[in-house]
């Protein structure tokens, strides 16, 4: 484990944030009750996903500029990890919604559009597997990646806000969490949790990238 300080940081941040999320004082809010603690788990999944997918797109653009296959490998693995966190985000969201909105999938604008966004990224992974030639696969999927990211941002952050029926905080005229209860005490757990989960994602990416590099070295 070379250069392992950030892996230690990841573990420490995650242990701190899990303990903090479960044990620290939380604001007592109607309907939410103790589920406000999900803020440190559900919402952080999406933050980690966005950071991983941004990185994936950056490497896709880098690949298009350099044609280095290593950039494509990094782009694909960051997308993989991003999709993993996205699926965790949507499943935890459904569990949370079941007990605060009344049903796991109410067809809420936020739920539907994030499901569409995830399907676009799943199509990216299918597209990669369907192409044989390495350079062609890399180029086509890099271009698709840029478009997928261009669709992701409006799907997650713009379209749900334009509806007036969404129950999700920050959408449909509802105040976002930061408007009334993301106070400084919640932030003390929330931000370290985002960093911790993102680092865990990067760690998993690095493992898979290293396996791919070994595979490629063996094939040469």
């Amino acid at each position: 484990m070379k250069k392992k300080w950030w892996k230690v940081l990841c573990i420490v941040l995650l242990i701190y944030s899990i303990l903090g999320a479960l044990l620290f004082d939380a604001p007592r809010l109607a309907i939410l009750n103790e589920t406000i603690r999900n803020l440190h788990f559900h919402v952080t999944m999406w933050f980690a996903m966005i950071i991983l997918l941004v990185t994936s797109t950056i490497y896709a653009i880098k690949y298009l500029r350099s044609n280095r296959i290593d950039h494509d490998t990094l782009s694909a693995e960051f997308a993989n990890a991003g999709v993993l966190f996205g699926i965790l985000g949507i499943v935890t969201g459904a569990i949370w919604a079941n007990f605060t909105w009344g049903e796991p999938w109410s067809g809420d604008a936020k739920q539907n559009s994030s499901a569409i966004a995830l399907l676009i990224y799943l199509a990216y992974l299918v597209l990669r597997n369907s192409l044989e030639d390495q350079q062609q696969k890399a180029r086509v999927s890099a271009i698709y990646n840029v478009f997928a990211f261009a669709a992701l941002i409006p799907l997650l952050f713009i379209l749900p806000r334009m509806t007036d029926s969404s129950l999700h905080p920050g959408n449909g005229g509802n105040p976002g969490f930061n408007a009334y209860d993301l106070d400084s005490r919640l932030r003390m757990v929330f931000y370290p949790a985002i960093l911790g989960w993102t680092l865990l994602g990067v760690w998993l990416v690095s493992l898979r990238v290293r396996i791919k590099r070994i595979k490629m070295a063996l094939e040469d």
Binding site: M1, I11, L14, I15, L19, L22, W203, L207, R213, I214
Partner: protein, 84 residues
């Protein structure tokens, strides 16, 4: 049959032993709040039990990840030192 009889007598003798006073435990002893016991795990609606479970799961996954990381490092050493 003989074995069962011996067990039966043993049980009877045990219960008579318990009833002779010096070693008996009364039901009230379980509600004796004057004696301090290790009750942290039962406080706050037993939330610490949940904390322990979540932490166990999390640490198990992390230890597994670290072991995969080490295995890949060993493979890298093998493959890239052969090549280089």
């Amino acid at each position: 049959m003989k074995k069962h009889l011996v067990t039966l007598f043993l049980l009877i003798s045990l219960s008579s032993f318990a009833q002779n006073g010096a070693y008996s435990i009364n039901p009230e002893d379980y509600n004796n709040t004057s004696v301090e016991m290790a009750d942290v795990m039962r406080s706050n609606g037993k939330i610490y039990v949940v904390v322990a479970v979540v932490m166990t799961v999390f640490l198990g996954l992390i230890i597994y990840t670290i072991s995969v990381d080490r295995k890949i490092s060993r493979l890298e050493k093998e493959v890239f030192s052969e090549k280089g």
